[in-house]
């Protein structure tokens, strides 16, 4: 437990000291919110979709969490390059504890980042369906965060340096976001796109947040939650396995 705690604490300390990272990773979701939200809002309204800002906010929160979580996991490469990973790997603790501590730390940061975005969206006029919904929404945010931090860790365990980073951003993170239903409703879209979205883990996170925050749902909260929990457990297992194989 102490190992998990100290690794969690380390992630939080690093995050809280890196102001540029905090603000930097808020920029993109806010840009999406303002550009898409106000840009497409009137059309969305006229097409009978209702308030687009309300629709978009859960998607934008998910995006913020997704990016921060994947990035926190990938930070493992930094630890490898700057040598700190060795310090943890020669210590008399298990790899599993190291992986769990890191992932919990990264997921806490990503959830916190999601929460900041939530409060910022209130400034541009977002109103959740009830503030009591924030509690279940937090649970979903944390699940999304855990899932994707574990994914980031799994990827980082197989990489030696940052050369593949751009590849991951363009061929994994961006598609995860754009093909998740974060920006558009999944009803009435072409079947191929719908299939892709239903295979995308983030779709269930976005849908879960939409259910809890604005009370509209595509898959249903039960399905969202169960799929997120199952995928999170699988991803943690894969991440732990790959991390246990890391050689310095």
């Amino acid at each position: 437990m102490r190992t998990i705690y100290i690794l969690w604490l380390r992630q939080l300390k690093r995050y809280s000291r890196s102001r540029s990272r905090i603000f930097g990773s808020l920029g993109q979701p806010l840009l999406f919110l303002i550009a898409f939200g106000f840009g497409f809002g009137p059309i969305f309204q006229r097409a009978g979709g209702g308030n687009y800002i309300n629709f978009l906010v859960p998607g934008v929160i998910s995006q913020g969490i997704l990016f921060t979580a994947i990035f926190s996991g990938i930070e493992l490469i930094w630890d490898r390059q700057f040598g700190f990973l060795k310090e943890t790997l020669v210590a008399p603790v298990s790899r599993l504890e190291i992986m769990v501590g890191r992932t919990l730390g990264g997921a806490t940061i990503a959830t916190f980042q999601g929460l900041i975005i939530f409060f910022l969206t209130l400034l541009v006029g977002f109103r959740p369906y009830s503030f009591a919904a924030l509690l279940p929404a937090l649970v979903i945010m944390f699940l999304i965060a855990l899932l994707f931090t574990a994914l980031g860790t799994a990827i980082a365990s197989t990489l030696q340096d940052f050369q593949g980073f751009q590849l991951i951003m363009n061929f994994l993170v961006m598609p995860l976001f754009f093909l998740s239903g974060a920006l558009f409703p999944l009803e009435g879209i072409p079947d191929a796109l719908k299939t892709i979205a239903s295979l995308n883990p983030l779709s269930y996170g976005v849908d879960g947040l939409r259910t809890t925050l604005v009370n509209t749902s595509h898959f249903g909260l039960l399905q969202d939650m169960s799929i997120l929990v199952i995928l999170m457990v699988i991803m943690m297992a894969i991440g732990s396995y790959l991390f246990s194989k890391v050689e310095i």
Binding site: Y5, I6, R17, S18, E87, V90, A91, P92, E247, I248
Partner: protein
Amino acid sequence: MSTTPPELAISVKNLVKKFGDFAAVNDISFEIPSGEIFAFLGPNGAGKTTTIKMLTTLLHQTAGEIAVYGFSTVTQQADVRKSFGIVFQDPSLDEELTAYENMEFHGVLYGVEKSIRKTRIQELLTIVELWERKDHLVKTFSGGMRRRLEIARGLLHHPKIFFLDEPTIGLDPQTRNQIWAYIQNLNTTEKITIFFTTHYMEEAEKFAQQIAIIDHGQIVAQGTSEELKARTQKSTLEDAFLALTGTAIREEEASGSDHLRMHRKMWRGR
């Protein structure tokens, strides 16, 4: 107790490490009695760092046996890990944390109890003259300060053996002397076994009781500095070293670290 032979800090028997077809360490054996200062010398790429990685459980050997204070590095990893401290060749501090936080992190990982941890951290940081800088982020530290912090950190959990992989590389003579003064002091007062690698032959000559020279993955000579000089009929250890390992300059990667070379070898081996 006095009748038993001295306890062995390290016993290595027929150790082999292969990356694909390449044998980075090719059948080496040596013993280090507890409390000794042991120098492990060799040109770049000779297999020093690979050997240290196996001794410290970071890599598993292809063949052979290693015992660190009687514990197997393969089957008794946790016991081995508790018994040693290490200063790696490249930095291994978290630059975004303070000196104190780096120490604290280490203490928690090694299960050093809170009350002991606090006094021990203060004691060690005072010895390496960093106590006044304890709340500064490591990224503001010079190379020498980082090295001193790594030494203090490696000692926090009272290791019985201390591995130092080129501990004084890139440091000025003042800092080198200071660091060796700490190390010698540790060896005499706390009876800690010291295992170190270096390219500064005078350090091995001055401080090591036993020297092993490794080249192309094999130990080419072992003994005291005097014995090595006598054997090669040279007057300095540096000349003896060159006589034993040849004067050809070894193929070096741009980074100059064994680390990257090793990965490349592993990659090729796949």
